[in-house]
Amino acid sequence: MHETPYIRLRVLLFSVLRERIGQHELEITLPAPATGDHLLDYLAQQYPVIADYRSVIRLAVNQTYVPTSTELHEKDEIALITPVSGG
């Protein structure tokens, strides 16, 4: 047996990304190992709105902000956080 060369990721979307993409969750398959940057590069190619927001998106893994260099794992809860506007 050897390690599978791909991982499947669930990515949560909110606000303008959810609205423009029309989904609140994406299922993405990436070559392993994959970091937040790999994921964002891939998504920016697929979805113009993510390319537009790329520079201001923060990444959350398991409900915590993390650097985009963080390595991602299959069971992680990944979310793309555009600039927040609560209050």
């Binding site: 909110f14 606000s15 303008v16 709105v49 201001v56 409900q63 979310a79 927040v84 609560g86 209050g87």
Partner: protein, 151 residues
Amino acid sequence: MEFRSPTVWLWLLSEALPVAKAVSFLQTPEAGGLALFMGTTRQWTDNRETRSLFYEAYEPMALAEMSHLSDEAQHRWPIRRLCLWHRLGNVPPGEISVLVGVATPHRAEAFEACRFLIDSLKCQVPIWKRETLSDGQTVWVEEGIPEPKPR
């Protein structure tokens, strides 16, 4: 979603915030100063009319971030009671979307902690607002920051 201890009350709710309950919770003989901030939907911004605001949250993370902010505030100031509430869904003009309240022994620290909490909440907590204008158009507030690209 809600977290409540004897001294801290974090709450994301989809109805009008029960302000009197917050005040009762914050009142304690251990405190001398109680600072409360409430954000309300403003109808006019210059000549633009807001018909209502709609708030969406990444709820479990929003509650977790509110909890971090509460911890940090308690670390920095001698807080006896703390409330951090946010309303979700539609909030019409004049109604309250967010409530931050702290009770401390003295007033300076109450103001500082309250200001810290609302400023940090606005930067950190994954909640977004969509504005509905008088003509029915909707826009996500701060959409396109830092450089808006018309599509």
